[in-house]
């Protein structure tokens, strides 16, 4: 813990600031380049207005979700526990119709409660199998609130995903089988305290992402003390007229006549189409628009535009309309697409010609019988595209924009795969399940054994050999029932590569370093270890890759590792140590492999200065020793002085790169990891 305090912010912190939108004490003030667009971005009203609009959007999302929990999938709510979150949840509950099933699911729920299974206590009492229904089936038609959703195990995530996809839950457990409707919506409460976000697989399936972490009570105001949410909640007109949506108004006004004309025209044609309930034209058009917008915002998943289409339809339905208007699309893009943006759309769509859309307007080669589309006015649909895109852009928190502008377009994926590591990696000595087996060769799992024995009690008592004990209240356990815990055999090692990507580790050395890491990765792969990657350069350090077993990802991150800038060695060591301590807390055993020339010239505060930076680096090295973190220092420099000393104070194994051929290096890591 103590080590973590002093460290500079690793990626997660920055990430939070980006999502939070408001954490102005974040990395922006850390000496990074000022966001080029800072002056033009925030709407005139200032941050209070932004957060008020976030709150209004949050209420709107709640109202839409409440109208049809299952089809919208759900909401990822990022907010610390507190009055703001409470008020939002109150509002959401108030919006749900009377009698809607509500369930609260602990993140560590077991399968017999989640899916259904044997009710152990009742079974023992009754002497015959008594089953209990699972939470997923119970929540059919309602919603499930999941606190600490970022802690869900990969297995639970997969079960939730399967239920969301099919609207049903299949149970094949403890002698029972069945398929039950489970059309629920999820509310994932992400406290935002941990670096890891909610599993992508799950959040990808939920329409809304609401971030209230920066909203204060002041912004909510007294007027909404008891937010009266209902399906009829008036659409928020925010930010009043000045804001970004204000800019949309003229465009919308300009467009409306043509849009209505198109809709009317399609309804005429619709006479033919609607006989089979097929898609009419504006709907098809709407989907092109949403897809194009999603693409412009750098959203890879196809579920995003699909969810946006559902939400647009929901908006229309709540308004009592059958067709979609552009306002519906604008709102869907704002609520569904904007929070998923991974990059900025081209800032002025009219400048850059968008041939994509023209292509998109035509029917795909594999023409479906569903859409009999007539040629349409391209100019008009293009305008619609712009409007929807603009709306989505307007809803992106200003700091996100700044971050994205400063950091350039981000690659896809981001944090995915974090869960996977947890999934296939039950930690040291932890039971990962139980199986039939001999207790002499494993640890007895008492509960599982009782579970196996419970249904048979009545039968066994009836059988002759057990007549003697039939009067006793004891439980008859036969060898067949005995379950032993399956444990992870060995301690799982996570190798943290802490890479000096600074200019002083000159570029060709960086290439060599990358080569060296690849060799070590191959080694880790063979041993089924996990790897993580921390890089430091310029002003600070960054966790480039959280612990993962996916070699492909490690390789990808490594290949894209940029070089240049100063050497914030202390920051790098700090970041690696924080990560390592976290892993150790989780039951793993971390090893830090530090690849540097040891010539620090940027201090923790981000300032230059060789002397101070050097001292801090040595202090960080001593911290490694103090925490007893095993480390290996691979000296990438030509002269050994700095790195050697660092290795000494950290009690790290020292391997100079010039002599570190493939074999020597992996042998060194092997020795360090024991």
């Amino acid at each position: 813990m103590g080590g973590g305090r002093a460290t500079p912010r690793p990626l997660g912190e920055e990430d939070r600031a980006r999502r939070g939108g408001m954490d102005s004490a974040g990395p922006l003030s850390q000496g990074a380049t000022p966001p080029p667009s800072a002056s033009r971005l925030p709407p005139p009203g200032g941050e209070g207005d932004v957060q008020r609009s976030v709150w209004t959007d949050a209420l709107r999302a709640a109202a839409l979700f409440a109208a049809d929990p299952h089809s919208s999938g759900g909401i990822v709510l990022r907010a610390g526990s507190g009055p703001v979150r409470e008020r939002w949840l109150d509002g959401l509950r108030a919006a749900l119709p009377e009698g809607t099933p509500l369930r609260r699911m602990p993140a560590a729920i077991a399968d017999d409660r989640l899916l259904g299974g044997l009710d152990l206590a009742a079974t023992l009492r009754a002497g015959r199998p008594v089953t209990q229904s699972g939470l997923l089936a119970e929540a059919d038609g309602g919603m499930i609130v999941v606190p600490m959703a970022e802690r869900l195990s990969a297995g639970t995530v997969a079960r939730l995903c399967a239920a969301l996809d099919t609207g049903a839950v299949s149970v094949e457990r403890d002698g029972m089988h069945g398929r039950h409707p489970a059309r629920f919506g999820l509310v994932l409460l992400d406290e935002g305290a941990e670096d890891e976000p909610v599993a992508e697989a799950l959040s990808d399936r939920l329409a809304f992402r609401v971030d209230l972490s920066a909203v204060g009570l002041r912004e909510i105001g007294n007027a909404t003390l008891r937010p009266r949410l209902s399906s009829q909640l008036p659409r928020p007109q925010v930010p009043a007229s000045e804001g970004l949506e204000g800019r949309l108004q003229p465009a919308a006004r300009r467009l409306r006549p043509s849009f209505e004309a198109a809709e009317a025209a399609s309804q005429d044609q619709g006479l033919i189409g609607s006989q089979r309930g097929s898609a009419n034209k504006p709907d098809g058009d709407a989907i092109s628009t949403l897809c194009a917008t999603a693409a412009d915002l750098g959203i890879v998943s196809l579920r995003a535009p699909l969810l946006a289409a559902r939400i647009a339809r929901l908006v229309a339905r709540l308004d009592g309309r059958a067709g979609l208007t552009e306002a519906d699309l604008v709102e869907a893009a704002r609520l569904v697409l904007a929070p998923r943006a991974t990059r900025l759309p081209a800032s002025d769509p009219s400048e850059a010609p968008e041939p994509r859309f023209e292509e998109g307007a035509g029917p795909a080669p594999n023409d479906s019988p569903m859409d009999g589309e007539a040629p349409e006015s391209e100019a008009q649909s293009k305008n619609l595209d712009e409007i929807v895109l603009e709306a989505a852009r307007a809803a992106i928190p200003p700091n996100l924009l700044a971050q994205l502008l400063a950091g350039g377009p981000r690659l896809r994926g981001g944090k995915a795969g974090r869960m996977g590591a947890a999934a296939s990696a039950p930690r040291t000595g932890r039971p990962i399940g139980s199986r039939a087996g001999d207790p002499r060769r494993g640890r007895l799992d008492l509960i599982a054994t009782l579970r196996a024995a419970a249904p048979w009690q009545r039968l066994r008592r009836r059988q002759v050999p057990y007549a003697v004990i039939s009067g006793s209240p004891g439980i008859v356990v036969l060898p067949d029932d005995i379950r032993i815990k399956t444990l992870r055999q060995r301690t799982e090692t996570t190798t943290i590569f802490c890479v000096d990507a600074s200019g002083s580790a000159a570029l060709e050395r960086l290439a060599e370093t990358k080569g060296a890491i690849e060799l070590l990765l191959a080694e880790s792969y063979v041993r089924r270890d996990r790897v993580a990657l921390v890089a430091f350069r310029g002003a600070g350090a960054e966790v480039m890759l959280p612990p993962t077993r996916s070699l492909a990802r490690a390789k990808r991150v490594l290949a894209g590792l940029p070089g240049g800038g100063g050497t914030p060695l202390a920051a790098g060591i700090d970041a690696a140590a924080t990560l390592a301590l976290g892993i150790r807390r989780g039951g793993g055993s971390p090893v830090i492999v530090l690849l540097t020339d040891g010539r620090a010239n940027v201090s923790r505060s981000g300032e230059g200065g060789r002397v101070r930076a050097g001292e801090e680096a040595l202090a960080a090295g001593r911290m490694l020793r103090a925490f007893g973190l095993p480390a290996l220092l691979i000296d990438t420099g030509a002269r050994p002085e700095g790195a050697r000393r660092l290795a000494d104070v950290a009690e790290a194994r020292y391997v100079p790169l010039p002599h570190a051929d493939a074999g020597a290096m992996s042998a060194a890591v092997r020795a360090a990891t024991g």
């Binding site: 259904g116 119970e138 099919t166 699909l306």
Partner: protein, 382 residues
């Protein structure tokens, strides 16, 4: 602390059924709220998204069709990005498969022409003269399934009420002669995976538990899907699958729009949508039936065998399994295409699916096995 009395109050566990009815009353005890207003149709009766309406993903579709034509290719593994319709495609296959003839009343849906001795049911009960037509089973193995439900176990109810020792068949029995689908195969517990692979390879499920001892036929095509970012598959598991496909999210906007558009149309009117594709589905079904009939007659000339061998040699695949699968797959593809002879053309098209997971792994060669196979194909067939 976050207090939430409303939810907690409504979360009070359902009263436990202690003295209730003796039957396995899961359905009855599950909350049935279907009477609520404006409820869309039950998810249990919604038809599957039609196979022929899937946009793109040619490799995955081809692999599934090949497995439908010749189950002996040995399973299909579909790995790839989230939201690419992996599960959709596999579930869609069920509706597409031509019906099969089965012994009525047999829990393993035995082929009427098979030897009765292989099946514990047919060996004891006289087979009725007339067979019935039943859909080919496509069985979902849900996550969280326990071993007793997978393998089958003693029928507790009969044991308790009648004192009979009867076997209650599990999922493996239900999947006999069909498909067994595991979503998120990389999340399945290791001992279950081992068990499944074992049964899939032998076609026989051996049950030794709770005083039962029997063997029953369990021939099925194992279909697994997963996302590599959620964790890698054990290498031993990989090459037990006959075919391995990779699916990626389409990047071309035109394709993306079409995918979303069709999905959206389906969600709004599943029955109408399926109806619109009924003709295409029928045609594909016919293609499978024809291909099955043709399969035995498709010739595999020496030249094709040689090409296959050269390809495997160039890639350094271990053992003969690669060549065998490559040949079978190419033959099934030829049958699907209506060709009577396997040519290099067929081999080229199936090579990535049949071989990419059999290469000796270079974990760091990110260009990936697909690129390596393609390179080798170019060299061998140039």
């Amino acid at each position: 602390m976050f207090e939430d009395p409303h939810v907690i109050a409504s979360e009070a566990k359902q009263s436990r059924d202690v003295s209730g009815s003796p039957e396995r009353s899961w359905m009855a005890s599950a909350p049935l709220r279907n009477d609520r207003a404006k409820r869309p149709q039950s998810p249990l009766t919604v038809p599957a998204f039609p196979f022929t309406a899937i946009v793109g993903q040619d490799e995955m579709r081809q692999a599934l069709l090949i497995a439908a034509v010749d189950p002996s290719v040995g399973g299909v593994l579909v790995f790839g990005d989230r939201g690419t319709g992996k599960s959709t495609a596999i579930r869609a296959l069920a509706a597409l498969l031509p019906k099969m003839r089965a012994v009525p009343g047999c829990p393993y849906a035995c082929d009427p022409d098979s030897s009765p001795q292989a099946c514990p049911h047919c060996a004891v009960n006289q087979r009725p003269k007339k067979s019935v037509e039943t859909p080919v089973p496509v069985v979902d193995l849900p996550l969280g399934a326990t071993e007793d439900r997978v393998v089958g176990a003693l029928d507790l109810e009969r044991a308790l009420s009648l004192g009979e020792k009867a076997f209650e068949p599990g999922l493996l029995a239900r999947a006999n002669r069909g498909f067994l689908y595991i979503d998120e195969v990389n999340l399945l517990e290791d001992h279950l995976v081992d068990l499944l692979l074992d049964v899939a390879a032998s076609g026989i499920n051996t049950v030794e538990r709770e005083g039962l001892s029997l063997r029953h036929p369990a021939k099925f095509v194992l279909v697994g899907s997963g996302n590599p970012e959620e964790g890698e598959l054990r290498p031993q598991l990989l090459d037990r699958f006959g075919l391995a496909c990779e699916v990626t999210t389409p990047t071309e906007i035109k394709t993306r729009i079409e995918v979303v558009r069709r999905r959206d149309a389906f969600e709004r009117d599943p029955h109408g949508f399926c109806e619109a594709y009924a003709k295409a589905e029928k045609a594909t079904q016919k293609r499978i039936t024809k291909a099955r009939e043709r399969l035995g007659e498709v010739a595999v000339p020496d030249a094709a065998l040689e090409s296959a061998a050269r390809l495997c040699l160039a890639l350094g695949t271990d053992g003969l399994r690669g060549e065998l699968t490559l040949m079978r797959t190419a033959r099934a593809l030829a049958a699907l295409d209506g060709d009577m002879t396997v040519t290099d053309h067929h081999i080229k098209r199936v090579a990535p699916s049949a071989l990419r997971h059999r290469l000796r792994r270079n974990p760091l060669d990110e260009s990936g096995s697909t690129a390596r196979v393609e390179r080798a194909v170019e060299e061998v067939f140039s």
